[in-house]
Symmetry: C2
Subunit: 335 residues, 2 copies
């Protein structure tokens, strides 16, 4: 069975798809009301609100699929704001001809990932576009999280000061390499799998033990180079990164050489940068290592007074180079 | 200038697009922080949360464009839940090659419509897909509204009882006819323009004067027939609709005959169904008529004890027929 334009009609065929697929897998009392808006409450305080569209190609890859990405990405965006992710919306744009069982696998994965992350999918939308006007499935998730008043300023960068350490929870570039290897056009063998994962439980543990964290950001499109440059620009401070401290999968270096990629520019989907006062850096690394998503956690650099708004990489060979924000793209449709 | 894959890279070219287009038009303090999540507050009570993807073809049509649709549709979904729309997210999936000035027109329209509706665009995302993997632009908006405790049960249908009147705020099918007329393949002349409009101010006025409203729903994909059937199924009551009371643009009937369409199945983008106790029906019609979006408002039917879960149409010719929910689609990509 395949998705047809009728599945996006709003009529009886749409309703059947919604009740037999989305309601079945995402089941909860809010969604099953099928109202135009989900009614949520009771809120008391500030909330975090985020959205992302996912257009990854291919939709299935080693370590996950587009559905996993759509849940984890939005959960992580809320988590790095210091919020506890609570509610998600899911809007899908399906291409006519998408096999029903592929859609079912994706929706089933989303349901499992939402359960693991402790979020509820409370509202959604389904559109179908004709063949050749999409690419199997695009998913947009939006999320709402509850923000502890302690952390409302954490995403603004205002807590960051010279001497703070930069910590990441593992290998750079695994997601991009896994996607690259899965592309129809150049399929190659590698043991690298996508790091796609919801990091909210790890992040909440870190904030619980170490509420002094200065800044957090997930390292996705544009890689570590982009996140570090955004931080340098935001804070007008310098960032120093030690190449030797950056964890890489053994295969990544070789694959990057072949394709002319720099792992610091590659996308991740289960990695965050945490900036924290120096005395907490080891604690944070240790908490990360307690989670499978943090087993290769490492302190990779520090915030400095010198070279304001710039990121300097201390290279393996002992040199120094300016790590600029990538201007364009190494690999399109990575997420 | 055209959109390229680099605009979706997350790197410097993406940042330029975001700051020179999105931040320029959507300008506000929350969005300009460029954090992964928007930080919103202070909330105290329940909220409504909704999402919709817009894939309309063509993206420009008489009466609006896809950007206007994406703001108004989501504002209306929140409003019919009894909520006051406050915050929107905007996620765009751009097709490589989209002319920059078309994108700018759409974003500018979104900014104007958000201003009129009194909502703030606080977070967003931009993805670019290769040529032939999308269709110019798809937009997903999600929205958060504040819900007055008085109205938390309004979207569930639990207030509806026999004797309640059904009221609509004007012509059925204008949006679908306008889209049809604008389609490349069959372009024809008509004076019908899309009814696309944010109805939140009108709805808030109605709720203020008449908080006894039993139920509201916007009449979009699938038309009045779909909304009436959803209501009948939800309440297990009968719905009776009088064909002679349904306002239509003079051209609509003729166009429907040519294409074999039924105006009760056609999509609208600025129409709501309101169900209210009989004694308030005229007041509601009068409030509607005070707004340009309600000038053809009309009481079109009632809720009855007979034929539970079914919608019966009292036809112009004096007969009765079962008005079923459409199974499939009359016109794909209408919204």
């Amino acid at each position: 069975m395949q998705i047809t334009l009728n599945h996006g009609s709003g009529g009886r065929v749409s309703h059947k798809l919604i009740s037999e697929l989305f309601l079945k897998y995402f089941q909860n009392n809010v969604l099953s009301e099928l109202t135009d808006s989900a009614i949520l409450g009771f809120f008391d305080g500030k909330i975090a609100f985020t959205t992302d569209s996912y257009v990854v190609d291919p939709i299935f890859f080693p370590g996950g699929n587009i559905g996993k990405l759509a849940i984890c990405g939005t959960v992580n965006d809320l988590s790095v704001a210091g919020a506890v992710p609570k509610f998600l919306s899911v809007a899908v744009i399906l291409e006519e001809g998408l096999p029903y069982d592929e859609l079912e696998t994706i929706i089933s994965t989303m349901s499992q990932e939402a359960l693991k992350a402790g979020v509820t999918i409370v509202t959604g939308d389904t559109k179908v576009v004709p063949k050749g006007k999409g690419d199997k499935i695009y998913i947009t998730t939006s999320g709402i999280g509850i923000l502890d008043p302690k952390f409302t300023d954490i995403s603004y960068g205002v807590r960051v000061k010279p001497g703070d350490k930069l910590i990441i929870n593992g290998n750079m570039g695994d997601h991009a390499i896994a996607i690259l290897a899965a592309r129809e056009s150049l399929r190659f063998e590698t043991s690298v799998i996508s790091d796609c994962a919801a990091l909210n439980h790890m992040i909440q543990k870190i904030l619980e033990i170490c509420p002094q964290v200065s800044f957090m950001r997930d390292i996705t499109r544009g890689g570590l180079a982009t996140v570090a440059n955004e931080l340098a620009e935001k804070t007008k401070l310098g960032i120093r990164i030690y190449e030797e401290n950056i964890p890489l999968h053994p295969s990544t270096m070789g694959i990057c050489e072949i394709f002319g990629f720099d792992p610091l520019f590659l996308a991740n989907e289960g990695k965050i940068l945490i900036v924290a006062p120096s005395q907490y850096a080891n604690d944070i690394v240790n908490i990360m290592k307690d989670f499978p998503e943090g087993e290769n956690a490492s302190v990779i650099g520090e915030v400095v007074d010198e070279h304001p708004s710039q990121v300097i990489l201390q290279t393996l060979s002992g040199g120094k180079r300016l790590l600029e924000m990538p201007s364009g793209i190494q690999l399109p449709r990575i997420c």
